[in-house]
């Protein structure tokens, strides 16, 4: 049985690497006595696949993994059991049974939303987002492949929203994580800096979600499995 799980990682765990996170999950699964399936062969390992890697330094509200179970389990019971054994600083939001032939998360997720918590007036950020969306190109230094070459992010920025929270303003950017361009959060920080957001006024950054972007709609991997 294949389960798709949506989880959150709080700010306290933002410095964990992807490998650390895998270990954390595996160990929690063992502590919770979850009947996970093991791969065949001499060196069996968990059949778990994570969605796109959460960058070190960021926390996340809606991250995903798929896990295969050896013995079927009620998703609610699974969620509650595992949550009891995860650190209080992370947990499963939702779990659903999915078709065991569903395409992998890595294949379907093509978009992410990043939130930048900024100490600046909301109207100024509102104006900035309009400007960014109207620009014909948005050049930054590439942090991914082709390191340090110029990279145009424009085609990869789908949507921007600006919301006031208690203290600061949250600027949320929906971006592409595959075609036409893979937009990284650190490249977005550079873009904001180019546009007058001083590093000191950037209070926090997190990933608010991962999506399947299709026909101008953002669906979570739980809403749209195939």
């Amino acid at each position: 049985m294949l389960l798709r799980c949506e989880y959150h990682v709080d700010s306290d765990l933002r410095f964990l690497s992807n490998l650390d996170m895998m270990h954390l999950m595996e160990r929690a699964l063992r502590r919770a006595h979850i009947p996970y399936a093991l791969s065949e062969g001499f060196n069996p390992h968990l059949k778990m696949s994570l969605g796109t890697v959460l960058p070190v330094g960021l926390w996340g509200q809606k991250e995903y993994f798929d896990l295969e179970l050896r013995i079927p389990m009620d998703p609610e019971i699974f969620k509650n059991n595992l949550n009891e054994h995860l650190p209080p600083t992370m947990g499963l939001n939702r779990v659903a049974i999915i078709d065991s032939h569903s395409p992998a998360l890595m294949k379907v997720i093509n978009s992410a939303a990043y939130c930048f918590v900024i100490d600046a007036p909301a109207d100024r950020l509102e104006e900035l987002s309009q400007r960014l969306l109207k620009a014909s190109e948005l050049i930054v230094r590439s942090r991914g492949k082709k390191k340090d070459q110029n990279k145009d992010l424009r085609a990869g920025i789908f949507k921007i929203e600006v919301n006031q929270n208690q203290e600061f303003v949250i600027m949320e950017l929906w971006v592409s994580t595959g075609e036409p361009v893979n937009v990284r959060y650190d490249e977005l920080i550079e873009l904001l800096e180019h546009n007058g957001i001083a590093p000191g006024s950037l209070k926090d950054v997190y990933r608010s979600g991962n999506y399947i972007y299709h026909d101008a709609a953002f669906n979570t991997p739980l809403e749209k499995v195939k």
Binding site: F15, L16, L19, D20, H23, L24, E26, A28, R31, P87
Partner: protein, 628 residues
């Protein structure tokens, strides 16, 4: 503090997960309800400190079994240190993010001589005066324990008290005494501490020196202060506390697995080995206890691997059944068993095969010396035949690389002994070519022998860095295909040698070295011999006095103040036997060889599963000279 760390400090440093705490099974006790507050300080990075078994024991013990509390702190890597200094962030504990100055006690775990510069650096980062003399009741009490404390004298300036030997009973007693002396002056507290068996308070002793620089006497400074401090021994390891819910770090650490301490001590009597002498007698845990501890640890941690730790795990009475049971019980869940140290024989290889069905990459064996003559001198009871049999068994069952540990600079060493290492490597390779289907790789890790306190070789001169360098060059004068030699830095070994048998006069040198910027001296990227040389020069101390000098039979050693239970007469006898190339038996396999600890400390080998317990032990040999 925490918020600032997470926002402003940690994003700027490498491996920030070292500094966040909050791991699974971390214990945060109520600060206001806890009695004595102690922080366990490890003078190296998190991933090394968290791998250390003694720390896990004490952390669980204090927090679960006593009214006191213990939190943790590790040495920040230099990048973190720089940001902390720049931002004026004091050294803090990982549980409650409190500065170290909030604690009553800071307890350093001293596993390695050269971590002392990190101790100084950590105290400085915490804003605590470095020397015992400068501290008073306003400051935390600074204590140390661990193997290095068996020669505490070089560090006498910096620690208020040392804990000698097993900490399971000692540490709670120490914390109780601190609690009872709350509000007392530092002098009163130190006096009270010196009354605890196993506690050495250096300030209460006064050394005097002869004209040749050797020690004349180390005298207690008053009535009622013990002339010698006896190490503490846990009589029954089986009944001793062991943590069932150890912390599971988020980041990968050096030993990232559940661990069972199957036994403590070693009775083989290798003459170079300090641990083998100071942790006597041998005590084992019963299979039943280990079974329970394995289950509890695996369930509470979710680890994918469990390791059987001790000085010589293959000597554990129940090793065969334990390994088979663990593999049977947990193998199907994808949980592996690991054996950190193998004995040089075919049985060990069989057992290694049992736990390592795949991924047979590198097997590690430690013959320590190349010639039979030298192995007899050091009392390493291994024959060439056994080693080649082990190699054959390993290659036959699919291992492709063997790593062998050797030492150079051993007592009475001649060129033939160095040749013998190379010949032995060649023979192992030949066995590999004959019995393995694929080309094999032989790696030798070659350490420099450092004579240690409380061992039969404590009288031996150490080779100078120049001599060691000549030996290295000699051994590398030609290359052999598929045999790789790697040598320890002989300057690091030399410095270890200075401190290992050093005395109080090294205190200022250590201070100077730290001032000159020495830290992380065990890390090759930070070790700076030039700075140490400068420190010796400025303090007018000749390091060779502690290393290359011959010592006479009757010389009083700085570490004589510590009574490990193993008598000096026995050590001397062993030293003479080394000269005569004579072996001494294993006191478990055969009869007591008279090291003295069992009769003197009223303890015994404790082997619950070998049908042999302390009370049934036959008569012990006792030396007249050893009775004090």
């Amino acid at each position: 503090m925490k918020d600032r760390l997470f926002r402003e400090v940690l994003p700027r440093v490498s491996k920030p997960a070292r500094y966040t705490g909050g791991e699974v099974n971390m214990i945060i006790k109520d600060w206001d309800k806890a009695d004595v507050k102690m922080v366990f300080a490890f003078p190296d990075v998190y991933e090394i400190g968290m791998s250390h078994i003694g720390g896990k024991i004490l952390y669980g013990l204090v927090n679960e079994r006593t009214p006191h509390l213990m939190e943790r702190c590790f040495a920040p890597w230099p990048d973190m240190e720089a940001v902390m200094r720049e931002q004026a962030v004091p050294l803090y504990s990982l549980e409650s993010f409190r500065p170290l100055t909030d604690f009553d006690v800071v307890g350093f775990s001293m596993q390695y001589e050269l971590s002392i510069t990190n101790v100084l650096n950590m105290l400085d980062l915490a804003g605590i005066p470095l020397t015992s003399r400068e501290r008073n009741a306003e400051h935390p009490l600074i204590v140390a324990g661990g193997p290095v404390a068996f020669n505490p004298e070089p560090f006498a300036d910096y620690f208020d008290a040392f804990q000698i030997g097993d900490g399971e009973d000692l540490l709670p007693e120490l914390l109780d005494v601190i609690s009872r002396n709350r509000g007392a002056s530092r002098a009163t507290l130190l006096l009270a501490l010196s009354g605890i068996a196993g506690v050495y308070v250096p300030m209460l002793y006064e050394p005097s020196y002869s004209s040749d620089g050797t020690i004349q006497e180390i005298k207690p400074r008053g009535e009622g202060i013990p002339a010698r401090v006896r190490k503490r021994v846990v009589k029954s390891l089986d009944e001793a506390y062991y943590p069932e819910k150890p912390i599971v770090p988020y980041m990968t650490i050096v030993h990232d697995r559940a661990v069972l301490e199957v036994m403590r001590g070693c009775q083989r009597g290798c003459r170079f080995c300090q641990a083998g002498m100071v942790y006597r007698p041998l005590r084992e845990r019963s299979l039943e206890t280990l079974r329970k501890q394995a289950q509890a640890q695996l369930y509470s941690t979710g680890y994918e691997e469990i390791s059987l730790a001790s000085l010589s795990t293959l000597d554990y009475s129940g090793v065969d059944s334990l390994v088979h049971e663990l593999v049977k019980e947990y193998g199907s869940q994808g949980i592996g068993v690991s054996l950190p140290s193998l004995r040089v024989d075919a049985f060990s290889i069989d057992l290694a095969n049992e736990v390592q069905k795949v991924r047979k990459t590198t097997l590690t064996l430690a013959p320590e010396a190349g010639s039979q003559r030298m192995r007899d001198i050091i009392n390493k009871n291994v024959s060439e035949e056994q080693l080649l049999e082990a190699a054959q068994a390993a290659f036959k069952s699919g291992w492709l690389a063997i790593k062998l540990y050797f030492m150079i600079g051993l007592p009475y060493e001649a060129e033939e002994d160095l040749d013998a290492i190379l010949e032995l490597l060649k023979k192992v390779k030949e066995v590999g070519s004959r019995f393995s289907r694929r080309p094999v790789e032989i790696r030798a890790s070659i350490a420099c022998f450092v004579p240690k306190a409380h061992t039969p070789f404590q009288w031996q001169p150490m080779n100078s860095p120049e001599e060691l360098e000549t030996k290295r060059r000699y051994m590398t004068r030609y290359r052999q295909k598929n045999i790789k030699l790697s040598f320890h830095d002989n300057r690091v070994s030399f410095l270890e040698g200075v401190i290992a048998r050093g005395d109080r006069r090294l205190g200022p040198v250590i201070y100077k070295a730290w001032q000159l910027g020495c830290k992380f001296d065990g890390w090759s990227e930070y070790f700076d011999y030039g700075r140490w040389q400068e420190a010796f020069r400025q303090c007018g101390i000749d390091p060779n006095f502690y290393t290359t000098r011959e010592r006479s039979r009757t010389e009083i050693f700085p570490w004589d103040i510590i009574d490990t239970g193993v008598g000096r007469a026995y050590l001397w006898r062993e030293s003479e036997k080394a000269k005569d190339i004579a072996l001494t038996d294993d006191c478990r396999a055969n009869s007591c060889t008279g090291c003295g600890i069992c009769p003197r400390f009223a303890v015994g080998l404790d082997l619950p599963d070998a049908g042999l317990v302390a009370s049934q032990r036959p008569v012990f040999i006792m030396d007249e000279e050893q009775v004090d």
